[in-house]
């Protein structure tokens, strides 16, 4: 599904990602963790070209990402993304947020797009909020709308960039529940998160990053019980230690 070969990425002189090799199979769930500034977000933003890489190859669903706008477009249609700060469109209602891209990008008829939207709103358990504006919802509800919005494009792959980091503790669970459900249905997912409980239940593989490199990649059971590097041990003690 995703193939990254020797990928390097710079922000001006700053070397953010160093020789990243990563492949993700269809249906696989990968959790990416690591200290802040380690390049986790940048890594998943490469997948739908919200960031460009400077060398190496990024291939998503058989399409290599280059400057070619058509290819970028093709990949973005297949890849859904959920952000830390939700990024819902504040001037549109929940329903309009959900139908906008299917209608304007995939040219799904309005009525059908609305039916799909209501279906996914029910799945994330807030169908009654369809006609409200994002600012009228709680953070947890907004993030679930954001997940539904991505799903309405019927993506083959979902990216989650710290989806629960901006939420109050009591809302984290409602979002994670939706994500666990999605994982059980077989969606391919890459999730940047510090929710180690989620990683344990859902992930096929945990990737640990530090200073722009993938330092460890292992199944969660192995990663949590026997991390190989000192850096990962330290990180885990800090994340799990409270």
């Amino acid at each position: 599904m995703i193939e990254m070969v020797k990928v390097n990425k710079y922000f001006a002189a700053f070397h953010v990602l160093k020789d990243i090799d990563l492949s993700v199979a269809r249906g696989e769930k990968v959790v990416v963790c690591g200290p802040s500034g380690s390049g986790k977000s940048t890594l998943i933003r490469l997948v739908n070209r919200l960031e460009e890489h400077q060398s190496g190859k990024v291939i998503v669903d058989g399409v290599e990402l280059t400057d070619d706008v058509k290819k970028i477009d093709r990949v973005r249609r297949e890849v859904g993304m959920v952000f830390q700060s939700f990024n819902l469109f504040p001037h549109l209602t929940v329903l309009e947020n959900l139908t906008l891209a299917p209608y304007w990008v995939k040219r799904v008829p309005k009525k059908e797009a609305e039916e799909t939207a209501m279906h996914f709103l029910a799945r994330v358990r807030i169908p009654e909020q369809a006609h409200k504006y994002p600012s009228q919802l709680s953070g947890g509800q907004q993030q679930r709308v954001a997940i539904a919005r991505a799903l309405c494009m019927k993506p083959k792959l979902m990216l989650f960039d710290e989806p629960t980091s901006a939420l109050d503790p009591e809302m984290i669970k409602e979002v994670l529940d939706v994500m666990v459900e999605l994982a059980r249905e077989g969606m391919t997912m890459i999730v940047v998160t510090h929710e180690m409980g989620f990683a344990r239940t859902v992930a096929d593989r945990v990737i640990f990053m530090d200073e722009g490199r993938i330092v460890e990649a292992a199944p969660p059971a192995e990663f949590f019980s026997a991390p190989r590097t000192d850096r990962a041990k330290l990180f885990l003690s800090q994340v799990l230690g409270h």
Binding site: N48, R49, L50, D73, R76, R77, V79, G80, M81, F83, S85, F86, N87, L88, F89, P90, H91, L100, A101, W104, V105, Y133, S135, R149, A150, M153
Partner: protein, 338 residues
């Protein structure tokens, strides 16, 4: 009493300020009422006016048709009058959100066509009136209407251009905006009326009114562009991320996501610019077009009525004020709306 104590006399400095303001009002308002109403002369009789202490509304009564319609043929004044009403009607009609449908464009097209027919004539048995003779309020309103209608989209394009990734487009936009903003509107109007014809191939002529209109549009667009750019800069990067992630192409993204938010943020400044544009149309006076303010000035040239400028300008200001107040109070409904 309680309200007064809480709002006007809460502390010593406040009490002093209140008393000062009250005495100021006491000194200005009664004399104004005396001048404007009690001692005023309402008959169009300049001798009576000169004898009286009060305002000479007679001048306005006498000259109101010239002030409103300029040099348009006197017996045909019903035509610009009707055109003015239609134009104001179109604006009022467009103010209702319920009418913001695609057919509103058609309503405007028809309305403007009718206005054109009324003003020019030449068909349906209406006498032809060349636009050199148009003047007064309708000229001000037409310059404003077409000014806003053309400068606003142009300003949006310039603002987008200035933020474009393409260096050529960005350089052109920056160059245009800085060049135009660096020049007073008066000099643009002079250039449009004097220099533009020199650049045109011989045989091609653009009339004075159109030249002034173009100058106003080019001028306003540069200012609007910067205001809109301010709105664009206030949009969080996450909105772009989300739009990109949903594969929305540039124009869709801009039209559906970015502009609706940017323009709403820019509303106070936009209205500010629209009001400025409305009032700036009075500068066409210097290239010999008779807008509302010019007609006031010209009617004062008549020997019998020299010296009654205050009354006339007061009325002109009142007309300007009514339109500006309408614009700004309407714009408030955008700001509160979420």
């Amino acid at each position: 009493m309680r309200w007064a104590r809480e709002n006007l006399f809460r502390s010593w400095p406040e009490t002093i300020a209140t008393l000062l303001l009250l005495s100021l009002l006491w000194k200005t308002i009664p004399p104004f009422i005396d001048w404007a109403f009690l001692d005023a002369v309402w008959k169009p009789d300049s001798k009576a006016c000169r004898a009286s202490e009060g305002a000479c509304w007679g001048f306005v009564v006498e000259k109101h048709r010239f002030i409103l319609f300029g040099t348009y043929p006197y017996e045909l004044h019903w035509r610009p009058a009707l055109a003015t009403l239609i134009l104001i009607g179109l604006w009022v009609f467009s103010a209702f959100r319920a009418f913001w449908k695609s057919w509103l464009v058609a309503v405007w097209a028809v309305g403007l066509a009718v206005i054109g027919i009324l003003m020019w004539g030449g068909v349906f048995g209406l006498r032809y009136v060349e636009n050199e003779r148009w003047g007064g309020l309708i000229l001000t309103l037409l310059l404003t209407t077409f000014g806003i209608a053309a400068a606003f989209p142009l300003g949006i394009l310039l603002a987008l251009g200035r933020r474009s990734d393409m260096p050529v487009i960005r350089a052109l936009s920056v160059g245009y905006i800085e060049l135009i903003r660096g020049v007073p509107l008066i000099s643009l109007l002079f250039m449009a009326s004097v220099m533009l014809p020199l650049f045109l191939p011989s045989g091609v002529t653009i009339d004075k009114l159109l030249r002034a209109q173009i100058a106003i549009i080019l001028f306003a667009a540069a200012y609007l562009a910067e205001v809109i750019r301010g709105g664009l800069q206030a949009i969080p990067k996450g909105q772009y991320d989300a739009a990109h992630a949903l594969a929305l192409p540039f124009w869709r993204r801009t039209y559906l996501i970015i502009l609706p938010q940017a323009l709403r943020i820019a509303v106070p400044a936009l209205v500010n610019n629209f009001i400025a544009l409305f009032k700036d149309t009075s500068l066409v006076l210097i290239i010999g077009l008779f807008d509302l303010l010019s007609t006031v000035k010209i009617s004062l040239n008549e020997p019998a009525w020299t010296g009654f400028g205050v009354e006339a300008y007061l009325i002109a200001s009142l007309i300007y004020f009514v339109f500006c107040a309408a614009m700004s109070s309407y714009s408030k409904s955008f700001e509160v709306r979420r």
